[in-house]
């Protein structure tokens, strides 16, 4: 998650203090992982240095919590560029599960059992997320659905792999 760009976007509605930004960010995007204050001020000073935000009046007394930040036009352009660019799809080519399956087959251990255990664990988490989704608001639903679709993809891979274990054994242990 690009915290910097998210800050810039949030600042488009008007200048804010650091703590206000953190709170808004946490409410909207932080869900499982709220920001640390250190992270907030490090991000803001980087944005300041890059000319993407500017100080919008400093109250007397000094200290980072007194500063109000406003987005610059370069900042707005930066958000626009970020929103318009594709994220790199994460292909997960170095998958721990894959390593486990191959190692199990290689060492003559029951790989099917490993896949069963993993399926149960995935489904357990999917039930939890489904519950959260049913009781949550729309934002919560979208976040949970994103996680659910990814877990489902893992599970489809598990099923496919389970169906190909015999073939895999021939390749891994000719």
């Amino acid at each position: 998650m690009s915290v910097g760009q998210a800050f810039l976007g949030l600042l488009e509605s008007g200048p804010r203090h650091g703590y206000d930004l953190k709170k808004t960010y946490d409410d909207r995007f932080g869900h499982a992982r709220p920001l640390h204050y250190g992270q907030v001020y490090a991000t803001l000073s980087r944005l300041l240095k890059d000319g993407l935000v500017e100080l919008d009046g400093v109250e007397p007394g000094g200290g980072p919590e007194r500063k109000r930040y406003a987005v610059t036009s370069a900042g707005v352009t930066d958000v626009e560029k970020w929103l318009g660019s594709a994220e790199k799809p994460e292909p997960y080519l170095q998958n721990t599960l894959y390593t486990k399956v191959v190692l199990a087959v290689l060492t003559g251990r029951p790989a099917a059992g490993l896949l069963d255990v993993q399926r149960a664990e995935h489904l357990r988490l999917m039930r939890e997320l489904t519950q959260r989704k049913i009781t949550g608001d729309l934002a919560e639903q979208l976040i949970c659905d994103h996680a659910l679709f990814h877990l489902e993809a893992d599970l489809r891979w598990l099923e496919l792999t389970a169906a190909r274990l015999d073939d895999l054994a021939k390749v891994v242990r000719p």
Partner: protein, 234 residues
């Protein structure tokens, strides 16, 4: 034969023990066992052709297993007479399938009222209760339409209403969201499981979709006609 899997806490309502069923040379079930408690939503998962539908049909008394037993409230279903078995299906069980289950000549309201009419409930009363269920399933607006005039998602919700209208103890659902897109599938699952939980009906749900199984309390995996049990219970 595998020992029947009895989940901790509570006597099971419906039990299948060591179920075997062959179609000619094909062993569709080869010693499958399941136990379902009252009010529990159990997902029956597994690859295509593994025997999920056959298992569901055996549990529901639609298919007679070659060997093994099905017990409903401790009573052996395969030992019942045909009329006892069909009475059990009519009064205690509800069914939702993938598609094509509504009577095309009847309106949706009449479709939902049908199981009650078969139980000799008067038309006015049956349609009143049917209308209530259509409302719960959020499809009141299709009450007067025929199945050919509504969408697949609406049809599945009507089918769920029909399955629940008699207040069944067990709802058997075979890929109830199979023909729907994600959003409609989710909606059917949410409404089905919500309604089942409120009425304390157990649900035996066949699905190969993990997101659909996310609405269950527990899964039973069928592979080559045999069941594997995972012990995760919510």
């Amino acid at each position: 034969m595998t020992a029947p899997h009895t989940p901790a806490g509570g006597t099971p309502l419906l039990v299948g023990e060591g179920l075997c069923k062959a179609f000619g040379p094909t062993a569709a079930l080869d010693g499958a066992s399941v136990a379902i408690r009252a009010g529990e939503v159990v997902a029956i998962m597994g690859p295509s052709g593994s025997g999920k539908s056959t298992l569901l049909h055996c549990l529901a008394g639609i298919t007679r297993p070659d060997s093994g037993r099905v017990l409903y409230q401790g009573q052996e279903v395969s030992a019942m007479s045909d009329s006892e078995r069909s009475a059990l299906r009519r009064t205690r069980f509800g069914f939702v399938f993938q598609f094509g289950q509504l009577v095309p000549e009847l309106t949706c309201l009449e479709n939902v009222a049908l199981p009650l009419r078969l139980e000799r409930v008067r038309r006015r009363e049956a349609e009143r209760r049917a209308a209530e269920w259509l409302e719960r399933l959020e499809v009141t607006d299709v009450a007067g339409k025929r199945p050919g005039e509504i969408s697949g998602g609406q049809g599945q919700r009507v089918a769920v209403a029909r399955a629940l209208v008699t207040g069944p103890q067990v709802v058997f659902a075979d890929e109830p969201t199979g023909a729907l897109d994600s959003l409609n599938g989710e909606r059917v699952m949410r409404l089905l499981t919500q309604a089942a939980r409120e009425t304390r009906a157990a649900v035996a749900l066949v699905t190969h979709e993990a997101r659909v199984a996310g609405y269950s309390d527990r899964e039973v995996v069928v592979r080559d006609g045999r069941t594997r049990h995972m012990e995760h219970t919510r």
